[in-house]
């Protein structure tokens, strides 16, 4: 572990996606659907996407739920969000491509600068990239196809595999709150992955989402089915240039983990600081199945994300590792949720949050153990690091246990970066910046060490860069 951390410290000058892309718009708008959310607007999106009638009906059902449900009382910072002024569907005017050469130069340049093309060449078995509302590039390596793995834009999967999509779409995560329902009504883009029984996918696949413009709503939907005895590592990346006004992201990830299957789902959320970010992530895990969520929440001005799992079969396991980083008055409300529905199920939630310059982090978690989930075990640990007096952190764990044989642990700790602590580190020869970098590396080391090296470097690099912007740390 130490070597990796040491290595990471060499990469402290990597910049964030926002800094790489700068202030600009990416891609055009060959078609745009905007205005008040209504039946007509939804019908138009459905028409433009030329989708089957069952999907149109699903959207309308979601719209009804959206209109019925109240906005959760506890959400803060949404004053700016005006649902009547956004573009809910933006076609960037790029045909779905299978080679990079077909992608317009300015867009390609963005992917190259962000290292996406390099990642694909070096270690990914499949990649899809989405700009605004549509997937513009998708490619899988032959080995994936040979093994029978399906990796497609969700729109295409609806046509080719309607029965599978119908069975799971918005069923793993039924719209139990307003923004999940809104997502169901407006969704566009995202990928569908199916891993056949017994197939182990040895290297990661990635979906990369980019918002290219201001006042855009982005609603991609990722649906992953890992059949029994299979395994998959899926990476989700998000980025946006610095925007002139806010944009709104409300995505969803639904994962079905079959018996004895394993899915690792890693998110590196690096939206620019104008993006309001919601994401709805849930897995259903069958007997002996395993889901791992890694949520690296670096960017955005406002985030509400809680990777969750329903442990439905015996011995099913969820591990959730969440890093959130809030700066400049941004709010990061994150955590993880788990429902234990069978015996010997286990869950582990490790949350690390860092706040600086009036940033606020919130840990919000739910652990529910249902009657009959005998010997279920759950452990939650949330650590917060406050880098100055202006920053805040709060913890709202919710634990509900109906099973007397269950074992539940919860720990929460707050560390503060004080002058005295810095003095201690400096008295060992470290400069102030070196000391802070080392304190942060150590703080998130147990999560970073679980990530593929490239991503660990990115997360650490992004965080370091953020600190170097502040006078005290710069």
């Amino acid at each position: 572990m130490s070597n990796e951390i040491k290595e990471l410290e060499r990469y402290t000058r990597i910049t964030t996606a926002e800094d790489i892309l700068g202030q600009r718009e990416i891609g055009g708008k060959s078609l745009e659907i905007r205005g008040k959310i209504s039946r007509e607007l939804i019908e138009e999106i459905s028409r433009v996407k030329k989708e089957p009638d069952w999907m149109r009906r699903t959207r309308l059902r979601m719209l009804e739920i959206f209109e019925k449900l109240p906005t959760p009382q506890w959400i803060e910072g949404l004053e700016e969000l005006d649902l009547d002024e956004l573009s809910y569907y933006v076609d960037p005017g790029v045909n779905l491509s299978f080679t990079w050469e077909e992608i317009p130069k300015d867009i390609l340049e963005a992917y190259e600068k962000l290292g996406i093309r390099k990642a694909e060449a070096e270690f990914l078995l499949g990649l899809s990239t989405q700009l605004d509302s549509e997937t513009i590039y998708v490619k899988t390596k032959e080995i994936l196809t040979k093994k029978g793995v399906i990796f497609l834009p969700l729109e295409e999967a609806i046509i080719k595999y309607p029965d599978i999509v119908k069975q799971y779409f918005m069923n793993i995560f039924p719209p139990e709150h307003k923004f999940a329902a809104l997502h169901g009504a407006l969704w566009s883009g995202g990928v569908f992955v199916y891993v056949p029984p017994g197939v182990k996918v040895d290297a990661p696949v990635e979906a990369f989402f980019m918002i290219g413009k201001a006042l855009v709503g982005n609603f991609e939907h990722t649906l992953i089915i890992a059949d029994k005895d299979s395994s998959l590592h899926f990476i989700e990346g998000c980025a946006a240039p610095r925007l002139s006004k806010y944009s709104f992201h409300d995505g969803m990830v639904e994962i079905y983990v079959g018996e004895n299957a394993r899915v690792n789902f890693t998110t590196l959320q690096n939206w620019s600081s104008q993006v309001i970010n919601f994401n709805n992530k849930r897995a259903i895990v069958e007997r002996n199945g395993y889901i791992e969520w890694v949520e690296g929440s670096i960017g955005s001005k406002l985030t509400y994300v809680y990777p969750s799992a329903i442990l439905r079969g015996e011995n099913a396991v969820m591990e959730s590792y969440v890093i959130t980083f809030a700066r400049d008055g941004h709010i990061k409300d994150s955590g993880s949720k788990v429902i234990h529905r069978a015996s010997n199920t286990r869950s582990k939630i490790i949350s690390k949050s860092i706040s600086v310059n009036a940033g606020k982090t919130v840990y919000r978690g739910v652990v529910r153990i249902l009657k009959g989930a005998k010997n279920a075990k759950s452990y939650t640990s949330c650590d917060s690091l406050l880098l100055d007096e202006k920053s805040k952190t709060v913890t709202y764990p919710h634990i509900q246990n109906d099973e007397p044989t269950a074992l539940i642990g919860h720990e929460a700790r707050v560390s503060k970066l004080s002058d005295h602590l810095l003095f201690y580190m400096r008295s060992r020869g470290l400069s102030e910046n070196e000391a802070i970098s080392m304190l942060i590396s150590g703080f998130i080391s147990d999560i970073l060490s679980r990530l593929p090296f490239e991503q660990a470097v990115l997360i650490k690099g992004a965080i370091d860069l953020e600190f170097s912007k502040y006078g005290k740390f710069g």
Binding site: M1, F423, Y424, R426, S427, G442
Partner: protein
């Protein structure tokens, strides 16, 4: 009673850690007044005094703690004025402060130990060797430095960092509190080795126990922020027998 003058400190060669007429404290409160003391290479001195007399403040001020302000006086390291230097510069010039109560960190012990070792040209094997010698278990390597450390682990960890820092001058702030007799013996032997190698050592304590193996050249007694008394090692016995109240009485 007598006091030792700093005039003895500089013997042509400019060697030594010298605190000269130092007045220091917090922004609005003087804690230390007119402190003068010194240590030369290869010798130990004791800084003794009751609780709250300003010993730790003095240690922090010498190391450059940002909370403490120097109102007057100077600190010299081998003739160089380091009064306004950053703590990390003082460290790089060969000064080391072993904390009485090192703060909890979020750094893995391994990372900082390795950083220190590398900066002084040692490999990790040296870290492990010294850990074994001072009885610091390897399990601390993958724990956060000082977090949930026992008293003995903290002292041993500070001792390890001190050793691998290859210092010229060290200040140990109450290294004998919260550690078992075996720990004190190990510490004494490490200090003896450093002194033999030419390191100047200031030990802050209010007990005399740590000086069984190493005899301090001088003893400074700090009471109410002033050097009330200084002299040879016989002062330790006097304090042991009569206490600080007595020292205070004869000093004034």
């Amino acid at each position: 009673m007598s006091k030792i003058s700093n005039k003895d400190a500089v013997v042509n060669d400019n060697k030594g850690l010298v605190v000269d007429k130092l007045t220091a404290g917090l922004e609005n409160r003087i804690i230390l007044r007119d402190i003068s003391l010194y240590v030369r290479p290869g010798e130990a001195v004791a800084l003794m005094g009751p609780n709250g007399s300003g010993k730790s403040t003095l240690a922090y001020s010498i190391m450059g703690h940002p909370h403490y302000k120097i109102f007057n006086g100077k600190i010299y390291l081998d003739g160089e004025d380091i009064t306004d230097k950053e703590p990390e510069e003082r460290y790089r010039k060969g000064l080391f402060l072993a904390f009485q109560m090192p703060p909890e960190t979020t750094v893995l012990s391994r990372s900082l130990y390795l950083h220190i070792a590398k900066s002084r040209g040692y490999g990790f094997s040296k870290v492990l060797e010294i850990m074994r010698r001072i009885g610091l278990g390897e399990h601390v390597l993958d724990r956060y430095l000082n977090k949930n450390f026992s008293g003995g682990e903290m002292k041993r960890s500070e001792l390890l960092q001190m050793y691998i820092s290859s210092p010229k001058y060290v200040i140990l702030d109450e290294p004998d509190s919260g550690i078992d007799p075996d720990g004190i013996m190990i510490m004494s032997s490490i200090l003896k080795e450093l002194i033999d190698k030419g390191v100047g050592v200031i030990v802050i304590t209010h007990l005399g126990r740590v000086f069984r193996e190493i005899e301090p050249k001088r003893v400074y007694v700090l009471i109410d922020g002033r050097i009330a008394l200084s002299g040879d090692s016989s002062l330790i016995k006097l304090i042991d027998e009569k206490g600080y109240q007595y020292i205070k009485k004869i000093a004034t």
